[in-house]
Symmetry: C2
Subunit: 170 residues, 2 copies
């Protein structure tokens, strides 16, 4: 099965993200707004049991940290993806780094740019319009993150949560 | 916030349910296929912390149990809802009963009929067609349930998992 690991911000932040996603993100219906901390990977049942144990260890040694969003940014010209830029606080970067240690399948393929996607697969014109109108907008979001989730993907592309890992618990 | 408590069956069962839901269930995009074990309720932050503690106690004393599906059924004429009928094994019924004890808001409003919705809000003609063609179909699904999930609802009607509760863990 395909798995991924993500953080869901508070309902308030998810509602803000969805107000854009419903118009600009074709994946709107497949998963709630999230910060991916480990990209999709394959694992069988025995592997996932080991991975769950390692995720518990990692969660146990992680402390709650702030999720801070000030502005929108874009991956253009690599992809026409517009996102809420999540500040790369040390705890978040360390957490994601740990999910690429040698107990996990898949190495990191891109530098970690923490973000909540609000638009993707946009045409270049759409991208210019959306990013042009949002890039001047100041956000003042500060949330506390105290857990992450392991998800698996269904055949229709949507994601179901397999397990929640709360920080400080093992 | 609005919360609900549900069981997600295995990916295989979810994929089967989605093959019908995509055509017949307008809630297809709002939540993966699931068995609701406590209907939507309101709780504030302090209440939900107490509820989470109680859910841990309940999970700790629950043992994994089978989820068995043999056939499709319908709530017609009450509502034009078609569902995979989940056999009401004792552990499942007991688990749902505990979620209506006096530590939780909301009393049970209907008898507990465990099910995975695959079609709803159908016109009477659609309902006759869909249920007519599915009611003779024999399913032979047996799955093991070892966890349940507390979810909350976003403004767009979709659901995000707040926490997973694994049986036998507290």
């Amino acid at each position: 099965m395909k798995y991924g690991i993500a953080i869901f911000p508070s309902k308030e932040v998810q509602d803000i993200a969805n107000s854009y996603r419903k118009r600009y993100d074709p994946n709107y219906a497949l998963i709630p707004p999230h910060v991916t901390i480990k990209e999709r990977f394959d694992a069988n049942e025995s592997q996932i049991n080991d991975i769950v144990k390692e995720l518990r260890n990692i969660a146990k040694e992680t402390k709650p940290f702030p999720l801070i969003i000030k502005k929108v940014s874009s991956f253009h010209p690599v992809t026409n993806t517009v996102y809420l830029k999540v500040q790369p606080v040390e705890e978040l970067v360390e957490l994601s780094d740990k999910l690429y240690n040698d107990k996990f399948p898949n190495e990191r393929q891109f530098a970690f740019v923490p973000h909540i996607t609000i638009g993707q697969d946009l045409s270049t014109d759409e991208h210019s319009d959306v990013y042009g109108s949002l890039k001047m907008h100041q956000f003042d979001i500060e949330d506390t993150i105290d857990r992450f989730q392991l998800l698996y993907q269904l055949d229709n592309g949507s994601w179901t949560v397999y397990e929640t890992f709360k920080f400080g618990e093992g």
